[in-house]
């Protein structure tokens, strides 16, 4: 990236979900700490990959950014000014125009009773800046931009394949000319041969329009391909954040190392030679996270300090952040 201008600053974001009991007198008996103090910057025009396993809170981060989910506390600064968590009414609507989302399931994300043209036009209608004829023109442009025939505007979602539906979802997200698109597992439900098509489309759009992506995914290979920087989440915390080359070639957090070593590589020779760091046990419940470092229950490097104290996300090298008391390259103990 030539210039790095900050688009979003996320500071100590927390999103908790209450656990309730009782039918008539619902009372909170606990909370799931889905996102528990996450801070990062997102630059204009970059792709920030956000990876993690189920329950890591990566999707909740994405949804909290555009206030589809109300954050419990923290700040999200847009252009260093407006705090998105404090906005409401017209101001929120204005801000949301700049932040759009593409969802995982292209079958559930499109209203089956609306024609594709109407789906793509809906954000434009809500914004109310264009007349009817201009809107139709813009919808045709958008469909063309995502590689669909503008003549398809009168068709309904069920007439399209999964990959094509995801293109419709992308066209809809592009309609208000956003600065950021949150892609939440946007290719996970597509077949391998179709995934590459959609990823190439996203990359092409970024080059032409300068949009930033928060690319939330569990597929680390694809994240490595598409991202400029990558953040690794575990149980509501960012464990490591770095340029993709640094993260993949020189991971410092034991969790990142285990995660990378678990990703299969489509090459039998490489697979034969590989040494895997197999983590024992499962990811603990976010309703009852471990004390101190949330990863310590599965970590081979844990010490008394790890059980007692939450490690801060600190810079080890320029732009390489790690939340670990004992960072470093993999040891023989894993």
């Amino acid at each position: 990236m030539p210039e790095r201008r900050v688009l979003l600053q996320v500071r100590d974001l927390k999103t908790y979900f209450p656990i309730t009991r009782g039918l008539l007198l619902r009372r909170a008996v606990g909370q799931v700490r889905a996102v528990d103090g996450v801070s990062f910057d997102l630059y204009r025009g970059e792709t920030l990959g956000l990876v993690g396993e189920s329950g890591s809170g990566k999707t909740t981060v994405g949804r909290s950014l555009i206030r589809l989910q109300e954050p419990t506390s923290g700040a999200i600064l847009l252009d260093g000014e407006d705090d998105l968590t404090q906005l409401s009414g017209q101001a929120l609507k204005q801000a949301r125009q700049r932040l759009q989302m593409v969802f995982q399931d292209p079958y559930a994300a499109l209203n089956p009773r609306m024609a594709v043209g109407a789906i793509v036009a809906e954000p434009l209608e809500v914004l109310g800046q264009l007349g009817r004829a201009e809107r139709r023109q813009r919808v045709a442009e958008l469909l063309d931009l995502v590689g669909l025939d503008p003549a398809f505007a009168s068709r309904y979602p069920h007439e399209f394949s999964g990959g094509q539906r995801q293109r419709v979802g992308i066209a809809r997200a592009l309609a208000p000319e956003p600065d950021l698109i949150v892609c939440d597992e946007a290719i996970a439900s597509l077949d391998v041969s179709i995934q590459a098509q959609v990823v190439n489309l996203l990359e092409g759009l970024q080059k032409r329009l300068g949009i930033a992506y928060l690319f939330i995914a569990h597929d680390l290979s694809m994240v490595r391909h598409i991202s400029n920087r990558v953040a690794v989440m575990y149980l509501g915390h960012i464990m490591e954040l770095a340029d993709k080359a640094a993260l993949h070639d020189d991971p410092q957090h034991p969790y990142t190392q285990a995660l990378i070593s678990a990703v299969p590589i489509p090459d039998p020779k490489v697979e034969k030679e590989r040494r895997r760091i197999v983590l024992s046990g499962d990811i603990p419940s976010p309703a009852n996270p471990p004390s101190g470092c949330v990863f310590h229950t599965r970590c081979a490097r844990r010490s008394a300090l790890c059980q007692a104290q939450v490690p801060e996300l600190r810079a080890l090298a320029s732009g390489h952040y790690v939340a670990c008391h004992h960072p470093g390259p993999p040891t023989s103990a894993g």
Binding site: S54, P264, P266, D267, P268, R276, V278
Partner: protein
């Protein structure tokens, strides 16, 4: 030696409103004793349906076995009386499916469900069956097996449930384990645990495994031999190393080229396969991949290529242009 399982000319159809779905088309192959066969393909390639029909689990109607044989220890499973087939399933042939939560009964403890299988297939009495069930949970790496027998499915994590499923599958010392996307619903670190487990079991118990997956990476580290399916056809087959290094079918080559790799930098855009899989109710007479293939010509569009045998040992490919692929042509458009 004859293969443990031999599929001959298997053809499966499904009746739908739009027409008849040609789900599996003239599929023939064998699995040798002790080997792990990977079956790869995308959704609609027929990889799961063919496994279900091997086990007599295709619902009929709307499904229909339109032809072929499935030979297991010399008997054709497709013509076996239902009672005998039931005996075989969960006995000599065991299965593990993608979604462990819908494969387990939520109202019974996992111990009860394993014991049920042991009593039904092996005729064990309650006491020995319980001891064996605990041994099985121990075998698949579940800590405190005796305690875990009393757990209900919802009390276990996804990875633990899949271990229970594998324990149940192994209960009657099967000869063949059919695993249909068993790790797709799991996280990668848990997937790595399950893969290590199955590799260990296949080694220790001389288990023959058919592992069905859409994940080429996973199969690369697991299988000795691989079947590649597309639109219900076997399009390529071979030993894993040769197949991945020198794919002879443009589809397999295209798939490998379109996948980013964790161990490599990709500075350019991915080389995607254009288009999408054909409508299985309207398969023409030609090669089903022709519309997406960079090497396709008139003959490909009109005439189905037969499975051909290159000189290389153990390889099969269904493509008119495999020789050009062998010479290094890039088949994908």
């Amino acid at each position: 030696m004859t293969p443990l399982l031999e599929v001959r000319d298997l053809t499966v159809r499904f009746r739908r409103e739009e027409g008849e779905v040609m789900a599996v088309n003239h599929l023939s192959y064998g699995i040798e004793r002790g080997e792990t066969l990977g079956v790869v393909g995308e959704s609609g390639s027929g990889k799961s349906v063919h496994a279900l029909s091997v086990l007599g689990l295709v619902p009929q109607p709307p499904g229909r076995i339109a032809g072929g044989q499935v030979l297991f220890e010399g008997r054709d499973l497709l013509t076996l009386p239902p009672a005998e087939l039931r005996n075989l399933r969960g006995g000599k042939i065991a299965m593990v499916f993608q979604d462990p939560i819908s494969s387990l009964n939520p109202v019974y403890s996992v111990g009860f469900q394993i014991v049920e299988s042991l009593r039904c297939h092996l005729g064990l009495r309650s006491g020995p069956a319980k001891r064996r069930a605990a041994e099985l949970l121990d075998l698949v790496g579940i800590p405190d097996p005796k305690l875990r027998l009393r757990a209900f499915p919802h009390q276990l994590s996804g990875g633990m449930r899949q271990r229970v499923m594998i324990a149940m599958a192994l209960a009657c010392e099967p000869k063949l384990l059919i695993a249909d996307e068993p790790t797709t619903a799991l996280d990668v670190t848990i997937q790595a645990q399950i893969v290590e487990l199955v590799k260990r079991l296949s080694r220790e118990l001389q288990l023959t495994v058919m592992w069905i997956s859409h994940d080429l990476g996973l199969v690369a580290g697991l299988a000795q031999r691989v079947n590649v399916m597309y639109a219900g056809f076997l399009v390529e087959r071979g030993p894993v190393a040769a197949l991945y290094e020198r794919p002879l079918h443009p589809y397999m080559a295209g798939l490998l080229a379109s996948m980013p790799r964790m161990d490599r930098r990709t500075e350019e855009s991915l080389s995607a396969i254009a288009g999408r899989p054909p409508d299985l109710t309207r398969l023409g007479s030609g090669c089903p991949f022709a519309a997406r293939c960079g090497l396709a010509d008139q003959r490909c569009r009109e005439e189905m290529p037969p499975l051909q045998e290159p000189a290389e040992a153990g390889r099969l490919v269904r493509c008119w242009h495999w020789q050009r692929m062998a010479e290094g042509a890039a088949g994908h458009a």
